[in-house]
Symmetry: C2
């Protein structure tokens, strides 16, 4: 096993509980592991938005050679997390107000559409998954003073939103939503280090979940849209504070 640089890789990530070695998670190759590591490093903000990715340095940081590194970066383009230019190499996708606004808009459109579809064709197992995800989210504390709880919360929060729309039977749509959620989470994890107390987000989540399993399409979609919109507005303020256009 390669050694990983402590400064770049968090061992305590939410999904990073050491997997039972008999379970094959399908991440056998260096390139695939790098995809996960780089993705986490970018979303968490460890790799600064807009910064150039120096291949030699990254190679050394991750103790890998060029081939898997380049391949991993190429795959991350699909996630919208890195950009590439011929002979100029890779860079972390920059953040901007307009980018955040687009992400918010698209989340509103895509996720409400996916939610509606899920309510149309989702089965009982899907409903159960939602209730479980909601429960886990409610039981996960978000304490700004302890970073590891923030990471944990991000993970279950992400899982909740994905579970909501996981019944829609549209794999391409789901992958788009996942991408948008990734990009959105980067903004939250980068700019929303402390919890904002003016919202009862937990209630919002419950309303969305309840409306969804009740198959009340308009109610659930409205609540979801509001929820996404509020998050966007909230983040926008924090971007403005840090002077990001």
């Amino acid at each position: 096993m390669r050694s990983v640089p402590g400064s770049l890789i968090s061992e305590s990530g939410a999904e990073a509980v050491t997997p039972p070695s008999f379970l094959d998670d399908g991440k056998n190759t260096i390139a695939s592991q790098l995809v996960s590591q780089l993705r986490e490093a970018i979303i968490s903000g460890q790799l600064e938005a807009g910064s150039k990715i120096n291949l030699d340095r990254a190679k050394q940081s991750f103790n890998v050679s060029l081939s898997p590194l380049r391949e991993a970066l190429a795959r991350l383009i699909s996630d919208g997390l890195v950009e590439f230019e011929d002979n100029r190499g890779y860079r972390v996708s920059p953040v901007s107000l307009s980018n955040l606004e687009e992400i918010t808009s698209l989340r509103e459109e895509f996720e409400t559409y996916a939610l509606r579809e899920s309510m149309r064709v989702g089965d009982v197992e899907w409903e159960g998954n939602i209730m479980r995800a909601l429960h886990r989210l409610n039981r996960t504390e978000r304490d700004a003073s302890r970073p590891e709880t923030l990471e944990q919360w991000e993970a279950v929060h992400r899982e909740f939103h994905l579970t909501l729309i996981s019944g829609c039977r549209k794999p391409l749509l789901l992958s788009f939503c996942k991408t948008m959620l990734n990009l959105n989470d980067r903004y939250r994890r980068t700019f929303l280090t402390r919890t904002s107390g003016d919202r009862n987000v937990s209630v919002e989540h419950s309303e969305i979940a309840q409306g969804t399993v009740a198959r009340d399409m308009d109610y659930a979609c409205d609540r979801l849209r509001e929820h996404i919109h509020r998050t966007g507005t909230n983040l926008r303020k924090h971007l403005a504070e840090k002077g990001i256009a």
Copy 2:
């Protein structure tokens, strides 16, 4: 310059008019050229849907070494044209009825949304681009007996649909639409070798364009949605004929 295999690469693609050598098209590296070549090979059906991509053979076909080939394939994952599995390599994304149906649905949603946004914020130049694209499309003949005209038509048709929504100022949305259009075109180029005479597609395009520049949102979006839906229905029939589930 590397030699390219005639059997796999079409020199006469619509956008492939030999570029003036002083103009830098940003496709300087082997990897980037491979992306274009492979994309075209897949969309055109030269690389069979679902088939495994043998790296050794591909390497020889394209006269390249492994590194740029792997990198190009990794980038193509974002386009939904290629799938990957650790230690099992790359394969051309398979086609299926459900995949086609999802693509059609998503095109309806995404493109009408993008069209509405474009009508909301698009400028005069955008309007002009639409009229030009429409004109070029109308002037391009689609003769089933001459394959090169089919390719030419595909190119201007694609250009028309992208121009329609190019005014929306949402780059992420545009890239998703591009991806869906790619996937859709693969179905048409693979399964719709002869023109179906029962539709006057040209009129449909004109209606969409006219409604758009008139900023008649509901009319334009309805026409576009119908257009996409009909295309989907049409393709579905052809898939059924060939016994594809």
